[in-house]
C-alpha cells in the first residue's frame, strides 16, 4: 500500500511537470546530416521556451514518411506538429477539420506581409484561413558540379547544361560517373522536372502543370525535354546509389561530375567542409534558365482537445517563422528563408544566387502546389521506369506523360 501511494505521488508530480512544460511530438523526415543539424535549431529554440520538443524523425524520405504521418492523423493518434510539403498534400485533411486553424497568430504576426513570395502563404490557405507555417523555400532547379571531377578529366567545369553534356565523354574516360542519380522515385521525378523547366522554359511548364494542357505535353517543345532527359539518363547509367545524399557524396568526393538536386544538397557540402566556388559549383536552372520554384516545407498542427497542447502548438508556429529562427534554420539547411525582411549576409555563394533570383522575382510555383498527390504519383511511376529502362524511348515516354496530364485533376 505504501509503495502504491508513493507511486501515485510520483505520478501526480509527473503530471504536474507535464502540464507546466508541454511536450510536443514533431514528425519530419529530415534525417541527413545537414537536415538534422537544421532541425536541431528548431528544437533548441522550442526547448528554450520551456516546452519540450520530442523528435519524431522518420527515416527514408517524404514518400515513406507521408503515409505514416497521414495515417497517424487519420487514425486518431496525431502528433503535436508535422512537416509536410505545402500544397495539396494536406488539402483533404484540412477539409476534414483535422488541422489547427492558425489564422489568429498569422494576423498577429502579419504573415501576409512578411512572407515572400506570397504564393507560399497561399498554399497554406484554404477558404481564407491559414493552416500551416511555411519554414523554408526549396528550389529544385540546381545542378551541383564537382570541380575535382572535371579537373581530373582535364576539362573546365561547365557553366551550363550543354557544356556539361559535352564534357560527359571526358568524364567517363577518366572513370567518373558524369551524372550522379539516386534511385528513389522522387529523385527521378524531380530531375525530370528540372530538365523540363531548364530546356522547355517556364511558360511551357506552366501550360502543362498549371493549365493541364495535354497538347503542350505532347508537343515538339516537350519532345526536346524528353530528348534531353534521355541524354541525362545515359550520363547517369552507371550511378547505382539509392539515397540522394549518397549521390551528393559522389559529387563531394569527385567520383561524379554533377548531380541535379534541390538546394538542400548544399547542407551536405557544408557538413563535408566544402565551399561553393572552390570545391564545388552550383548552377541554378542548369545554367540555362535561371528560375527557381518556390515549393518548400511547411509545418501543420493537428487539432488537439488539450488547450495546453494548442497553446504550445501556436507558440511553436510563431517561433518557426520568427526572424532569428529562420536565419539559424535556413543557414544550416541550405534553403532560402520565407521572410523577405531578414539579413542573410552569412549565406554562401549558392544561397546568394538563389536570393538574387528570388529578389528579381524569377519564381515559379512548385509541382506540389498545382498537381495532386495522385497525378504526381503517376508521373513518378512513369519517370522511375523511364530513367531505369534504357529501351524506353523519348517518344513513348512523352505519349504516356501526355496521357497522364490529360487525366490530371
Amino acid at each position: 500500500m505504501k509503495t502504491f501511494s508513493k507511486l501515485l505521488t510520483t505520478a501526480a508530480f509527473l503530471t504536474a511537470g507535464v502540464a507546466h512544460a508541454t511536450e510536443l511530438e514533431v514528425t519530419h523526415w529530415w534525417t541527413s546530416g545537414g537536415e538534422a543539424a537544421a532541425v536541431t535549431e528548431f528544437a533548441n529554440a522550442f526547448n528554450a521556451t520551456g516546452n519540450t520538443w520530442v523528435d519524431g524523425a522518420i527515416a527514408g524520405s517524404g514518400g515513406t514518411a507521408r503515409p505514416i504521418i497521414i495515417s497517424r492523423i487519420l487514425g486518431g493518434d496525431p502528433m503535436g506538429a508535422t512537416q509536410l510539403n505545402h500544397g495539396r498534400q494536406a488539402e483533404e485533411l484540412i477539409e476534414a477539420g483535422l488541422m489547427l486553424d492558425l489564422t489568429d497568430i498569422a494576423t498577429e504576426g502579419d504573415w501576409a506581409n512578411v512572407v515572400n513570395p506570397t504564393s507560399l502563404l497561399d498554399a497554406c490557405t484554404l477558404d481564407g484561413k491559414i493552416y500551416c507555417v511555411p519554414v523554408n523555400i526549396h528550389s529544385w532547379q540546381w545542378i551541383w558540379l564537382s570541380n575535382k571531377a572535371f579537373a581530373d578529366a582535364g576539362v573546365d567545369t561547365p557553366t551550363n547544361w550543354d557544356e556539361f553534356v559535352a564534357a560527359a565523354p571526358a568524364l567517363e574516360e577518366a572513370g567518373k560517373v558524369p551524372l550522379a542519380m539516386g534511385q528513389q522515385p522522387w529523385q527521378s521525378n524531380g530531375a525530370f522536372g528540372v530538365i523540363a523547366v531548364a530546356i522547355g522554359g517556364e511558360d511551357l511548364w506552366n501550360k502543362i502543370n498549371v493549365d493541364k494542357d495535354a497538347e503542350a505535353a505532347a508537343g515538339p517543345e516537350m519532345a526536346k525535354v524528353f530528348e534531353a532527359a534521355v541524354t541525362a539518363r545515359e550520363m547517369a547509367a552507371n550511378s547505382r546509389v539509392q539515397d540522394w545524399n549518397q549521390a551528393t557524396n559522389m559529387v563531394i568526393t569527385g567520383e561524379a561530375g554533377g548531380q541535379i538536386m534541390g538546394d538542400w544538397a548544399q547542407g551536405e557540402f557544408q557538413i563535408a567542409g566544402q565551399t561553393a566556388g572552390e570545391e564545388y559549383e552550383c548552377l541554378p536552372g542548369l545554367g540555362v534558365n535561371e528560375v527557381i520554384s518556390t515549393g518548400g516545407d511547411a509545418f501543420y498542427f493537428p487539432k488537439s482537445d488539450d488547450p495546453d497542447v494548442t497553446a504550445a502548438q501556436k507558440e511553436l508556429a510563431k517561433l518557426m517563422i520568427s526572424q532569428e529562427v529562420q536565419v539559424a534554420f535556413n543557414l544550416k539547411k541550405g534553403s532560402l528563408p520565407v521572410r523577405g525582411d531578414i539579413d542573410l549576409s552569412a549565406a554562401n555563394d549558392c544561397m546568394k544566387k538563389g536570393l538574387e533570383i528570388l529578389a528579381a522575382g524569377n519564381v515559379m510555383v512548385s509541382g506540389d502546389e498545382v498537381l495532386s498527390a495522385d497525378t504526381q504519383g503517376q508521373i513518378e511511376d512513369l519517370m522511375v521506369e523511364f530513367w531505369n529502362d534504357p529501351s524506353y524511348s523519348a517518344a513513348d515516354a512523352q505519349a504516356a506523360y501526355a496521357a497522364i496530364i490529360a487525366d490530371a485533376d
Binding site: Q378, D381, A400
Partner: protein
C-alpha cells in the same frame, strides 16, 4: 454429418450441438464483419473517386479502366505470375525432396531439420536484406567468385530488369521451402511402414514407390502445402520492398505494393481499392473451381 443415420428421429437439427454453435458465434460474427464486411466495403468504394479520404461519389469502372491501362500494374501482374508459378513448383519440389531425403533415416536428422527450417523463423524483411547483400554485385556472390579468379563472372539478378524477379524468387524459396519440408516430413511419417515393406517385397524401386504410391497417399498434405504457398504468393510485398523496392525502375513491382503505394503514397484510395479488388477476384477465380473439386467431389464420392 453426412454419415449420421436419417434425421427424422431428431426434430431440431439446428439445435444439435447447441453449445458448440453458441461458442462459435463470436468467431463467425468476427469473420462476417471483418472479412466479408470490409471486403464488400472495399469493393463498393473501388467504384468511387475517393482520394485521401473515402467518399461515395460513384464513377463507374473508371478506376478499373485506369488500372488496366497502367504499365506498372501490368508489370506487377506479370511478375506475380512468374513468381507464383516458379515459387509454387520449386517450393513443392524442393520441400518434398528435402523431406524425402530426411525420411531415409539419416544421422543427425534433428540437426538438419533445424538448419533447413531456420530461414522460416526470419521475417521477410530480414530475408530480403540478407539476400540483397548476397546478390549485391560489389560485395556478394559475384565479387566472391571474381576474387577466386573467374573475373568475367556476372551474377547480379537484382540489378538486371529482365531477371530481377528471379532474384526475389531465390529469397522466397530459401525462406519458404523449410516449412513445406517439415509439413511433407510429417506427411511421410504418417505413411504406414507396411506399405514400404510391401513395395520392397514387390521389388518396386524406391523412387517409383514415392511417385506412384506415397505421393498419391499424401494428397491432403499436398493440399495444405499448396494453400500455404499460394497465400504467400499473392501477398508477397515485404520481400520486394526489402530487396529492391520495386526496382530497377519498375521491373520488380508486385500487385500488393501497387495497392499500398496508391492508397497511401499517392493518396488515391479508390485506385488502391480497385487494385485490391482485382487481386481478390483472381484469388476467387482460382479458389472456386478448386474448392468445388475438393469439397464438392467428396460428397459425391
Amino acid at each position: 454429418m453426412a454419415t449420421s443415420p436419417g434425421t427424422s428421429k431428431r426434430p431440431m437439427r439446428l439445435l444439435r450441438n447447441l453449445n458448440a454453435k453458441i461458442a462459435s458465434i463470436p468467431m463467425v460474427a468476427t469473420a462476417l464483419v471483418i472479412f466479408v464486411g470490409c471486403t464488400l466495403w472495399t469493393v463498393v468504394y473501388s467504384f468511387t473517386d475517393s482520394k485521401l479520404l473515402p467518399r461515395l461519389n460513384f464513377v463507374g469502372f473508371d478506376q478499373y479502366d485506369r488500372l488496366w491501362g497502367t504499365r506498372r500494374w501490368l508489370v506487377s501482374i506479370e511478375n506475380l505470375a512468374w513468381y507464383g508459378v516458379c515459387s509454387l513448383i520449386l517450393t513443392l519440389v524442393i520441400g518434398f525432396t528435402l523431406a524425402a531425403l530426411l525420411d531415409r533415416k539419416v544421422r543427425f536428422e534433428n540437426t538438419f531439420r533445424t538448419i533447413l527450417l531456420y530461414p522460416f523463423a526470419l521475417s521477410f524483411i530480414v530475408t530480403g536484406l540478407v539476400w540483397q547483400w548476397i546478390l549485391n554485385p560489389d560485395f556478394g556472390v559475384q565479387q566472391v567468385v571474381r576474387d577466386w579468379g573467374w573475373t568475367s563472372f556476372t551474377f547480379d539478378p537484382l540489378y538486371n530488369p529482365d531477371i530481377v524477379i528471379f532474384g526475389i524468387l531465390i529469397a522466397g524459396i530459401w525462406q519458404g521451402s523449410g516449412l513445406i519440408m517439415v509439413i511433407m516430413l510429417a506427411g511421410l511419417r504418417g505413411i504406414d511402414e507396411d506399405i514400404w515393406k510391401a513395395a520392397r517385397v514387390d521389388g518396386i524401386p524406391t523412387w517409383k514407390t514415392y511417385v506412384v504410391v506415397i505421393i498419391p497417399m499424401m494428397r491432403p498434405v499436398f493440399v495444405t502445402a499448396l494453400v500455404l504457398i499460394a497465400s504467400g504468393i499473392v501477398k508477397v510485398y515485404d520481400l520486394v520492398v526489402a530487396q529492391t523496392s520495386g526496382g530497377p525502375g519498375i521491373a520488380s513491382e508486385v500487385p500488393a505494393k501497387y495497392v499500398y503505394d496508391k492508397m497511401f503514397a499517392s493518396q488515391n484510395l479508390a485506385q488502391g481499392f480497385a487494385a485490391s479488388t482485382m487481386m481478390l477476384v483472381s484469388v476467387i477465380i482460382i479458389l472456386i473451381p478448386w474448392a468445388y473439386l475438393e469439397f464438392g467431389g467428396k460428397k459425391r464420392g
